[in-house]
Amino acid sequence: MIRTFLGASKVPVRAQLRPFFRLFSHNPATRNEWFGDLTRKTTPELSKSEENSDEVVSNPAPKDDTQLQEYYMKQAREQQIRSDKYISPLKRRLFDLNVAQNGFFKNNTVVTDPDTSKSYKVSLTEQEIEILEPSIYLQSYRIKLSMKKATVVNRFVRGFTVKHAIAQLHFNPKKMATELEKFLKTGLEQAHKLGYNEDGLYIHALWTGSDGEWRKRLDAKGRGRTGIIEHPYIHLKAVLKTDQTTKRRQWEQAQAQRAAKPRMFLNNEPLNFKVRGHYKW
C-alpha cells in the first residue's frame, strides 16, 4: 500500500537540523516498511550464490573443446570425398603395392605381395585408377568476377605445375590472376598436409562456374528503354594431381607407341578407282 501523509500536522521548522535531513530520510521506501506493521523488518542477506558470483565459470575455447571438435570431425569425415568410400580395400592394397614397386601404377602388370608371397596381375579400369590415384579437389570461395574473364586466365595455367602456375600468375596484372594464385596456394597447403610431392603437383583440371544469386540492377537507357546490369559472382574448381599420374601417363603413352603398328608412308592399299587405259581429256 502506498502510504500518504495527508493528515499530518504541521510542526515548526527546525532550521538547525535542516542539513541533516537527507533526500531519502523519511520515506517508506527507504525505511523498508512498505506494508506498515504487517511485515517484519528484515535486512537483506547475501545468499551464497550471490557471494560467489565473482567467480567466472569459463568454458573452454572452441578449439580446445574436445567434445565439440570430435563431433565436427565426425561430420566432416562423413562429408569428405575419399577413395575408401568408393573402392574395395583389396584393390587399394594391390594398387599401393604396384605403386610401391614401380613408383607409379602400371596397369596389367604382376605384383607380388611380400607378406603372403602371392602374385597378382592387377588390371583396373580407368575410373578405378582415377579414384585410387592421389588427387585434390579444390573449391574456391565466392569471387566477384565473370566466367568469361576467369576463363581467359584459367586457360593460361591449365596443365602447369602448381608452383609454376603460381609464379606466372604472380606477375599477371589481371584480377583473376590474383584470385587464382590465392586459390592454388590453398591447394599447395593441402598437398603439404597430405604429404604429397608439392613440386610434382600439377593442375589436372581447372574450371569456373556461376556461383548463383547474382545481384541485378536496372540499366536506364534512352528513349524509355531499360536493360539489366548484372553483378556476376563465380567460383573456381580445380583438380590437382601428383607426378604419379604424370609418370603413369607417360608410361602408358610409351606403351601405346610401342604397341602401335609401324607407320607406312606409301599407300599399300589397292587403287580404289577405275583405271582406264586411255586419256580422258
Binding site: M1, I2, T4, F5, L6, A8, K10, V11, P12, V13, R14, A15, L17, R18, F21, L23, F24, S25, H26, N27, P28, A29, T30, A61, P62, K63, Q69, Y72, M73, Q75, A76, R77, Q80, I81, R82, S83, K85, Y86, I87, S88, E130, I131, S135, I136, Y137, Q139, S140, Y141, R142, Q190, K193, L194, H204, A205, D211, G212, E213, Y233, H235, V239
Partner: protein
C-alpha cells in the same frame, strides 16, 4: 573635346566604379589605405538606454519588495508586475517547502487515486549535454502527466521532483524493405525533473563496454556466415573464437558417376557372386 571632359568629370563625381576609360590619376580619391576602416563595427552607434532599476536587484530569491522600494525612492512609477505580493506568496511557499522537507512530508498535494501495483514503465535515461547533475530524465508512458511522475517518484523512491517538464517526442521515420512509404512509430514521452541533490550516472566498467562490442562483432560475423550465399558458405568465420569453424578435410576428386558406395557397386557385387558360385556358398 570640352564636352567630353565635362562628361568625364560628371562620371567621377557620381562615383561610378565601372568606367570604360582610363581615369586620370589626379582625380583619384586622396585617401590613405591605412585610414580606411573596412568592416566598421555595427554596435555602439545606437542610443543606449539606462539600465532598469529592476535589473539592479540581484542575488535574492524574492526581489519584488526591494525593486518596488527602489522605484518609489527614485520617484518613478512601479511597473505593474512588481506591484503584487508575489514575494509574500513565494516566501510562504518556500518556508512551507522547507518545513515539509524537514518533516519528510511530500512537498506537494498528493494524488488521491491509490495505485497499489503501478504498471507504468519508468526508465531513468542518461543525461544529455544540456542537463545539469541536478536534473534527471525519464522515459514515461504516454498517459503520464507531470503530477503522475511526481507522485510516482515520491512514493516509490522517495525522490522529490521539484520541477517537472515534459517532452513529447515523435518517433523516427521507419522504412521497411517492402514499404512504399515511410511511417512513424508511436510518439514517446520523456520528463525531466529537477532534484535537490545531484546525481551522476556511474561510468560503465570498461570490461562491460568491451564485452558488448565483442559480442556485437561476434553476432555480426555469425550472421554473415549464416546468410552467406553460394561458395561463401565454405568460408571460415572468426565468430565466437571460431565456434562454427568445422575442420576442413581435403577432398579427393572422384567423379560423380563413380561416387557409389562399395556395397552398391555392380562390379563388386558381380565379383562377390562369382566367388560365391565358385566356392558353392
Amino acid at each position: 573635346m570640352k564636352f567630353l571632359s565635362l562628361l568625364v568629370s560628371t562620371a567621377s563625381a557620381t562615383g561610378r566604379r565601372f568606367i570604360h576609360h582610363r581615369e586620370n590619376f589626379r582625380r583619384y580619391p586622396k585617401v590613405n589605405i591605412n585610414d580606411v576602416e573596412l568592416e566598421k563595427p555595427r554596435f555602439g552607434f545606437r542610443k543606449v538606454r539606462e539600465p532598469l532599476i529592476s535589473q539592479s536587484v540581484k542575488e535574492t530569491l524574492f526581489p519584488n519588495t526591494e525593486i518596488k522600494r527602489r522605484y518609489l525612492k527614485a520617484g518613478k512609477p512601479v511597473p505593474i508586475k512588481y506591484r503584487y505580493i508575489n514575494d509574500k506568496i513565494g516566501r510562504r511557499n518556500y518556508e512551507k517547502y522547507q518545513e515539509e522537507v524537514a518533516l519528510g512530508l511530500p512537498h506537494f498535494r498528493v494524488g488521491e487515486k491509490k495505485i497499489y501495483f503501478p504498471k507504468g514503465r519508468i526508465c531513468l535515461l542518461r543525461p544529455n549535454a544540456k542537463h545539469t547533475p541536478y536534473q534527471a530524465k525519464f522515459l514515461v508512458p504516454r498517459n503520464f502527466n507531470k503530477m503522475d511522475l511526481r507522485d510516482y517518484l515520491w512514493h516509490v523512491y522517495g525522490l522529490r521532483a521539484l520541477n517537472v517538464t515534459v517532452q513529447l517526442l515523435h518517433a523516427k521515420f521507419q522504412r521497411g524493405p517492402d514499404d512504399h512509404a515511410r511511417y512513424r512509430g508511436p510518439q514517446y514521452k520523456k520528463m525531466t525533473i529537477d532534484m535537490e541533490e545531484p546525481f551522476i550516472w556511474p561510468e560503465l566498467p570498461q570490461s562491460v563496454v568491451e564485452n558488448a562490442n565483442k559480442t556485437f562483432d561476434n553476432q555480426l560475423m555469425a550472421l554473415e556466415q549464416k546468410t552467406a550465399t553460394g561458395s561463401d558458405k565454405l568460408k571460415p568465420s572468426d565468430a565466437f573464437d571460431g565456434l562454427y569453424n568445422k575442420p576442413v578435410l581435403v577432398d579427393q576428386f572422384i567423379p560423380r558417376r563413380a561416387r557409389k558406395p562399395v556395397e552398391a557397386r555392380d562390379d563388386v557385387n558381380a565379383e562377390k557372386e562369382m566367388v560365391m558360385l565358385h566356392l558353392g556358398l
